[in-house]
């Protein structure tokens, strides 16, 4: 896969439902009621029950590795959190290659990622990953 600065990742839309939020919360063993109980979440001032951060990180990682492939090794995921991800508001993922370099026999790529809904940016940040150098430009 040829990767250059400025490449855009294919867009991805996640239809955020109650089930998506609850599944992620329980798979990440996060039992905080704000992630499964709409009444609790609203009493805390949130517009609805909302996705937990572990799930957001999981989708950001998936978004990048769906593009980069199974040889990718993620080095870091750095996100800033904004608007909540709540049922009925699809999350739109977009990404762009910001840096391409080499380190420790790997090609190192930094991708900027944005996941937004109609409330604003849910998560913005960067993911750094390595791909094997050999054959990486096939």
């Amino acid at each position: 896969m040829r990767i250059s600065i400025g490449d855009e990742l294919p867009p991805f839309v996640l239809p955020v439902t109650t089930t998506v939020i609850v599944s992620g919360a329980i798979a990440s063993r996060d039992f905080m009621p704000a992630h499964h109980d709409p009444d609790f979440a609203r009493a805390q001032g949130a517009p609805h029950m909302f996705m937990n951060i572990l799930t957001t990180n999981g989708y950001v990682a998936r978004y990048v590795t769906d593009w980069a492939g199974p040889e990718a090794l993620l080095r870091n995921i750095k996100i800033r959190l904004g608007a909540p991800a709540i049922p009925g508001k699809p999350l739109h993922f977009s990404g762009r290659v910001e840096k391409v370099g080499e380190d420790r026999d790997e090609r190192v790529i930094e991708v900027s990622v944005r996941a937004a809904n109609d409330l604003g940016d849910h998560a913005t940040g960067t993911v750094e990953l390595g791909l094997p150098l050999a054959g990486s430009d096939r």
Binding site: F31, D37, T65, P70
Partner: protein, 188 residues
Amino acid sequence: MAECDAVRESLEKYVGKPMGPPSVAPDPVNVPMIRHWVDAIDDRNPVYLDEAFAKTTRHGGIVAPPAMLQAWSMARPKIEGIAERGGAAMEITHDNPISALNAAGFTGTLATNSELEFVRYLRPGDHLSTTNEVESISPRKTTGLGQGYFVTWVTSYKAGGEVVGRQRFRVFKFDPRTIDPSRLGSAR
């Protein structure tokens, strides 16, 4: 503006100290929990479950999804009373900046940043332990969520004595009584 802030001064003692006690993950990294995660996130990267395929890659075998790092170390919850504890999995008894800020009226919490660093991917059998440290506490800030403090801590994840990952986490602890409705929106 260098005005005296007694609350902030009372927090200084926490900087550089543990956020909470060290912990050991309830279970080692294991395939059933990986499968549960992969299905929940609908992540079909074959290196997480397909041993035969994973062996053909540089991973050399099944690895855990890196974003699961924090999930392995989540405390076992006591479900009864979890809402009354504000969502805390267990009763928080240790003294840290979050409990101190709650006591001072800064009861609101908004997570603002997460930085996960992966030193190496985890494999089934790796058993995580964690330590954490308060990295910084900001001066009092006024934001769209009122007045409060940004508290940042770093969790180190170890397996077999080596650090395998880190997470830097930042929350804004705010006093809901200081929210200015005309600025309601964000902690920026």
